[in-house]
Amino acid sequence: MNVKIIVRGKTKGTLLVSKNPINFLGGIDKKTGLVRDKNHDLFGKNLANKVLVFPFGVGSSVGAYTIYSLKYNKCAPLAMICLKADITTASGCAISNIPLVVVQKQDYESLRDGQQVSLDAVSGKIL
């Protein structure tokens, strides 16, 4: 599948698919990568070393620092795949060197939790 590259990089990993948008500041524990918002569909799951798939980021602009903290605390996702990259997520990934891509809606909906992927955010492909 073709992707639009927002932050470049290459990685291989398991998809963690979120149905809900993510408010990184309120929703994610920056020291562990655990989803701590009880109302979120990923509650109790860990973002660390996963290829995180979510529609877009919402809420606090400080979420960008949460993304950076996840990287600093070695519990960041390997990469992120969004339907619409919001400014907080894009700027957080850019500072933290976390590959970030945007995919078309039908491709987005074909991504399955637990699937192994190889993400090439240099030439712009997911295999």
Binding site: S61, Y65, I87, S91, A94
Partner: protein, 401 residues
């Protein structure tokens, strides 16, 4: 946040527009003007590509988030310390609240490490040339530039207020995008900076009869979930400063929507008692609380003056914390409001706000009573305390003698 998959209202950008830089911008991106500028341009290029912008435009004012040590942690503190070694803000730059008020912090049981780290963050920002406003309501305490001026506001309630009420243009910036704008004086021209994207394609009809700041906050929270860049709100009466700030803050918490108008077209959906109950069920976890907090967003001069009148002859039954910007401190003292509020037993705190303050913690508080939907979300998710939602008039009626 329960997501019902209704992102049909979102415009999914996949325009393959790439940002075009001038020769000078290109050189800065390549590191020819130093590491800091290269980093700032890397952020601008990423958000430019994310939002489908083809150029950078000048902005006149940046308002930064990421000041409270509780929110940015050691990672953020070290990052800002490194950055401040050679970064200087190029445009007027103001900042969000910190974790506490340095003047009164000794009254609270806060560990020294937190205080030192917060001091470090403050110094880094000051070294880069910030106006030390420590407020989430820059639109209420600073003189505003003329209508149509581009600014970069990271604080979500402030971005929404600036676009919707002040006539300024900003995207709902991220902490690092506003920081990059402060350093470069630029931002990608996309989303709400483009006149075509400011027209709402969805109208939310306010059908709830009781219109106060709490119901407007819940309306905002609902709107944020279903709206794209911009949304119209119909049936919004009594949209005074208090209600309007609450609407902006609720919207900023749940969504990525950065603007509302009071007139609009497109598809219509209702915000009625049933929808409001769903929001309440999501945010409220307690039927009462140990303490009361007011001020997310921080209260401005008008709201403090109203409060002083409402509290006449009354006394809080519980501890009540009220958060305001330092900019109004002298005024509310001189006008006698501070004394009236303190006489009712409330504490006035400056430079900080409800959201993620270390002064409210699950080790010393079980549940908090607040009229702030934004405060409720972060108290529950970040501070880990339960929340009881009450409007200001309910708080004054039920929680004072």
């Amino acid at each position: 946040m329960i997501w019902d998959g209704s992102y049909k209202y979102y415009i999914c950008y996949n325009k393959d527009v790439l940002l075009e830089l001038t020769k000078d911008e290109e050189a800065a991106l390549d590191g020819k003007h130093g590491e800091t500028l290269a980093l700032a341009y890397r952020v601008l290029v990423a958000i430019g590509d994310a939002t489908g912008s083809d150029k950078l435009i000048p902005i006149e004012w940046a308002h930064l988030s990421g000041v409270n040590y509780n929110t940015i942690g050691d990672a953020g503190e070290e990052f800002l310390s490194r950055l401040s070694k050679d970064a200087k803000f190029k445009v007027k730059t103001t900042v969000n609240p910190m974790g506490f008020d340095f003047d009164t912090v000794s009254k609270y049981d806060l560990d020294d490490q937190f205080i030192q780290k917060q001091q470090g963050i403050r110094k880094s920002y000051e070294k880069m040339g910030v106006i030390p406003s420590f407020s989430c309501i820059p639109y209420q305490i600073f003189e505003l530039p003329k209508k149509g001026t581009h600014v970069s506001f990271a604080e979500s309630n402030a971005a929404i207020y600036a676009n919707s009420i002040s006539g300024l243009k900003t995207n709902k910036e991220g902490a690092f995008s506003a920081l990059a704008s402060a350093i470069t004086g630029k931002s990608p021209c996309s989303d709400l900076r483009d006149e075509n994207n400011r027209k709402p394609d969805l109208t939310i009809q306010m059908k709830v009869k009781n219109k106060d700041e709490l119901t407007y906050g819940m309306l905002g929270y609902f709107a944020g979930k279903v709206a794209g860049n911009s949304v119209a709100i119909s049936g919004a009466k009594n949209l005074d400063m208090r209600n309007c700030k609450s609407l902006c803050a609720g919207m900023g918490t749940s969504g990525r929507c950065g603007m509302f108008t009071l007139e609009g077209s497109g598809e219509k959906i209702d915000f009625d008692d049933k929808e409001m109950q769903k929001v309440r069920d999501e945010l409220e976890t307690s039927e009462s609380g140990d303490i009361i907090t007011l001020g997310s967003p921080q209260l401005g001069l008008d709201e403090i003056s109203d409060l002083a009148v409402m509290l006449k002859g009354k006394s809080f039954k519980k501890r009540c914390m009220i958060f305001c910007p330092r900019a109004i401190r002298e005024q509310i003292k001189n006008l006698g409001y501070a004394k009236k509020i303190e006489r009712a037993g409330a504490e006035l705190l400056y430079d900080c706000c409800i959201c993620l303050t270390p002064l409210i913690d699950k080790s010393n508080v079980d549940a908090v009573i607040t009229n702030s939907v934004k405060g409720a979300y972060y108290l529950r998710t970040s501070n880990g305390v339960d929340v009881n939602l009450k409007s200001l008039s309910q708080i004054v009626n039920e929680e004072t003698n």
